[in-house]
């Protein structure tokens, strides 16, 4: 099994990104490529469903941080859902849960005002 695979599907105006596996310095370029491709294509409402994400290092956080200002400048946002405990611990420890909206599951994220729901 590859360290990381990434699926993307559309849910209304929101692009749902589903990373599966590990995001570290080795795999982060694939993650960045997917996110940057969405933003360059004018997709500014992005939900990262972390259901199958086992692990994320600061390299992965940096990929998200690098795009947050751009998407918000265009009236969009990057939302997070279904975080496993260890992934939530990283975001929470660094205070990033203040910067990103975190939802228990995808349906609640898609129904939120930030997703246009």
């Amino acid at each position: 099994m590859a360290d990381l695979s990434i699926a993307v599907r559309q849910a209304g105006e929101v692009a749902v990104v589903l990373p599966a596996g590990f995001i570290n310095a080795h795999t982060v370029r694939d993650f960045e490529t997917v996110l940057e491709g969405l933003v360059q294509g004018g997709q500014y409402r992005i939900l990262i469903n972390c259901r199958d994400l086992s692990y994320i290092s600061s390299a992965g956080l940096g990929a998200i941080m690098g795009l947050i200002e751009t998407v918000r400048e265009h009236g969009g946002d990057i939302l997070l859902s279904n975080l496993q405990d260890n992934v939530f611990a990283i975001f929470d420890t660094l205070g990033f849960t203040q910067l990103y909206k975190v939802f228990p599951d995808e349906s609640q994220a898609l129904a939120s005002p930030e997703a246009g729901g």
Partner: protein, 145 residues
């Protein structure tokens, strides 16, 4: 006659390539459980080790993949210690500046979070240079409560 050691320890040497990060973090996580840490703490130790080894590969060795990174795990009754040695550019503790998370959130940017995660997730993080061998060491310690 082999020297007697007062704690369990073993070493792993990997090439300075990020493809081996998953191997190292998996080992660190399982070693933490063996040392008596709970699963949540073991996950934090593995992240700290990921960040430390990534720093060595990308910064100390500037992404050059032909060097080696040596890890030593030491199991003592009080703590799990992870020692990481390399021959690249060292970090001086007196030059370390950890980012302020609140400033980071106000002005998002890439990079700078690895050291912060290491310091938050471990009880001690030390950097030192061994003048005799010319190598640099990063030592991560997690106490067993």
């Amino acid at each position: 006659m082999a020297a007697k050691v007062d704690h369990a320890q073993f070493r792993l040497i990997i090439p300075s390539q990020t493809r081996y990060l998953n191997l190292v973090t998996g080992l660190a996580k399982r070693a933490s459980v063996v040392a008596g840490l709970d699963d949540a703490t073991a996950a934090k130790v593995s992240i700290a080790v990921d960040e430390a080894v990534t720093n060595v590969i990308l910064h100390a060795y500037r992404g050059e993949g032909h060097h080696s990174v040596e890890l030593e795990l030491r199991f003592t009754p009080q703590a799990l210690e992870v020692h990481i040695w390399h021959s690249g550019q060292g970090i001086r503790e007196d030059q370390l500046v950890l980012p302020d998370p609140s400033e980071y959130i106000k002005h998002p940017r890439k990079g700078g979070l690895g050291l912060l995660l290491m310091s938050r997730f471990m009880d001690e993080v030390r950097f030192r240079a061994d003048e005799d061998s010319g190598r640099n060491e990063c030592c991560l310690i997690k106490k067993i409560s």
